[in-house]
Amino acid sequence: MSQGNVIESRTFVLAQDNIDTDQIIPGHFLTTTEREGLGRFCFHGWRFAGDGSEKPDHPLKDYRPGRHEVLVSGNNFGCGSSREHAPWALLDFGFKAVISSRFADIFRSNSLKNGLLPITVENHVADFLLANPEQLVRIDIETRKLAIDGFGEFEFPLDPFSAYCLTRGIDQLDFILQNGPEIFAYEQRTGK
């Protein structure tokens, strides 16, 4: 159960390192002009065979929406392309947070703008979570704490601005727009 700025969930583990955006949502689904409803394409190549039938024993067969809101993955999650379709797909699939020892920069940035929380943890925490699926975790965005039932509580890095935007529902575009006079002054000053 997750409410407000707190996510409480069992973890779901995809242990590979370097899970790239082509795995999260393959390129041939990017002809969409929408951002909704992309969960059905999430990890599509892992879940479905070429003829569209579901593969037996695929890595997400035990995934249960509602039960698993937190994905635990190997190092360098989200590497590859800048497609924001990746966090859109993960959110629509049912994840609210991803835990990894490292995220690719653009994926991390895209996730934060959509309310998918990328939680970077130290290697020993990642190793525990990767080796032990179905952990009960509690993530508090306000206090930046990740509590793992029976294992410990850890602070995760989240820049103050992103935390502020996430917890207050502040929109980053509105924030930039408020600086319209400064942008205009910059253009005047530089002749741009």
Partner: protein, 474 residues
């Protein structure tokens, strides 16, 4: 009284500093001014929708430049002039970009433009890409433009919307990573081999959080297209961007191009651009040294660009989970040689390797030879201008007479979203930038290599060191 020492800074810091609208503080990231946004059909529709939802206009349509590349067919139109898209949705996406650009007054290079092409080929070709600029695009290979000393990086669709509406981005200042490459490149070794070697050396996350500056004698000796190839793949080691300090080669490339400054503006611009270099004594957060003599024609064997070997080396026989997963997917054996492996498809193209020098390199191998029976070979120029220049030189005839397909410009089989894909299980030698599982079609096995290596592999029908076919035609 002695003067205080002049502060020294890196190329990146110089470009960053001149673009800051508002400094980073404890509470918020810096507001960075973006000089140019490149726009394409795949990552922009939802951004334009967001502007519409909020009733916002594009702040500076004159600082946007759009083209169609990802979803577009590379086959010619039929007798009635109709283009055959892979799906109606792909066509609808392209139509939507037309509508959005018309509504907001953005210059779009579509089917009727000689400048149409892969967005990262088009920008430099038009002279839109210039030293010292900030350039963004909803595409991770935007780092390509860093070859000119621009700070260029890929962004997501939400940020595409931010730039459309405000011409600005919120950014935390990245770290700097110097990659110093010294020495002469050996025969058959190209910029593609250099960057594959670099990614292999520092790993696919070795550049995360950083902007790379490539420097050293090897980089200085590279032409602009080689520098673009190298900067293009900076994202494949996780870096935000890759940069090369501008020099006479940069200015020579840009002079006279349609969007480059003219007359006195040109003289002033070049004077300014000459200051865009890392000062002696300026420090990178991290520095990596690469010896050019260590670099061989290189090729990937696995499922990310860091899984790379010299082409005649043996595939690593690591027994870790990542290696096992890669070997299983690639249907390869650790300890075996990759050279000699039968190749089903060769793809020469993409924003990494689809410019004139790439096509000339491929043609130098294919001239007077035939592609091996059973090896389908696609050659896809990066832009319409490049296609026309290649045809004026007769490169198209060389490819066609060798038995390759000469296609219209676009991203094509790099990400296979336009229908140009290989069949499940096919082994593809590709000059593109990603060998992720399924990248070129479900179950397709991709080997990344240079245009020389790709062309040599097409001729032999097997993974081939290009040095074996360089020099006299067989």
């Amino acid at each position: 009284m002695s003067e205080p020492p002049r502060p020294v800074s890196t190329l990146f810091e110089k470009v960053w500093n001149r673009q800051v609208v508002k400094e980073e503080s404890e509470d918020s990231p810096a507001i960075l001014y973006i000089d140019l946004q490149l726009v394409h059909e795949v990552t922009s529709p939802q951004a334009f929708d967001e502007l519409k939802r909020r009733g916002l206009k594009v702040r500076r349509p004159d600082r946007c430049l759009a083209t169609i590349d990802h979803s577009t067919p590379t086959t010619p139109p039929d007798a009635e002039g109709n283009r055959h898209y892979v799906t109606q949705q792909a066509k609808a996406q392209v139509d939507m970009l037309h509508a959005n650009c018309a509504e907001h007054g953005i210059e779009l290079h579509s089917w009727d433009s000689v400048n149409r092409g892969i967005v990262h080929v088009m920008g430099p070709e038009m002279g839109a890409t210039q030293p010292g600029m900030t350039i963004v695009c909803g595409d991770s290979h935007t780092a390509t433009h860093g070859a000119f000393g621009a700070l260029a990086f890929g962004i997501g669709t939400t940020e595409v919307g931010h730039v459309l509406a405000t011409q600005c981005l919120l950014q935390h200042k990245p770290k700097t990573l110097g990659i110093r490459i010294e020495g002469e490149l050996g025969p058959g070794v190209t910029a593609k081999d250099v960057i594959l070697h670099v990614i292999g050396a520092i790993g696919v996350n070795g550049g995360t959080g950083s902007v790379i500056e490539y420097h050293g004698s090897t980089v200085r000796a590279m032409d602009m297209e080689s520098r673009m190839t190298m900067c293009n793949m900076s994202i494949e080691c996780g870096a935000r961007a890759g940069m090369v300090a501008p020099d006479e080669r940069t200015f020579e490339y840009l002079e006279g191009r349609q969007m480059a400054p003219k007359g006195e503006d040109w003289v002033r611009a070049v004077e300014d651009w000459k200051t865009l270099k890392t000062d002696p004594g300026a420090k990178f957060d991290r520095l990596v040294d690469i010896n050019a003599a260590d670099i061989q024609p290189s090729i990937t064997w696995g499922i990310n660009p860091g899984m790379v070997i010299a082409i005649d080396d043996r595939i690593p026989s690591g027994d870790d989970a990542a290696s096992s997963e890669a070997l299983e997917y690639m249907q390869l054996e650790g300890g075996e040689k990759l050279s000699g492996e039968p190749v089903d498809v060769v793809f020469i193209g993409s924003c990494t390797n689809s410019r004139m020098s790439d096509l000339r390199a491929a043609a130098s191998i294919m001239k007077g030879r035939k592609v091996a029976t059973g090896t389908r070979t696609l050659v896809v120029a990066g832009s319409e201008l490049t296609r026309q220049a290649a045809e004026a030189e007769g490169l198209d005839r060389i490819f066609i007479e060798a038995g390759a397909e000469w296609r219209e410009p676009g991203c094509s089989m790099c990400l296979a979203m336009n229908g140009d894909s290989a069949n499940p299980g096919d082994l593809v030698v590709s000059t593109s930038n990603r060998n992720f599982k399924g990248r070129q079609g479900p179950g397709v096995r991709t080997l990344l290599a240079s245009p020389l290596t790709a062309a040599a592999s097409a001729i032999r029908g097997r993974v081939t060191n290009p040095c074996e076919l360089m020099g006299a035609a067989s």
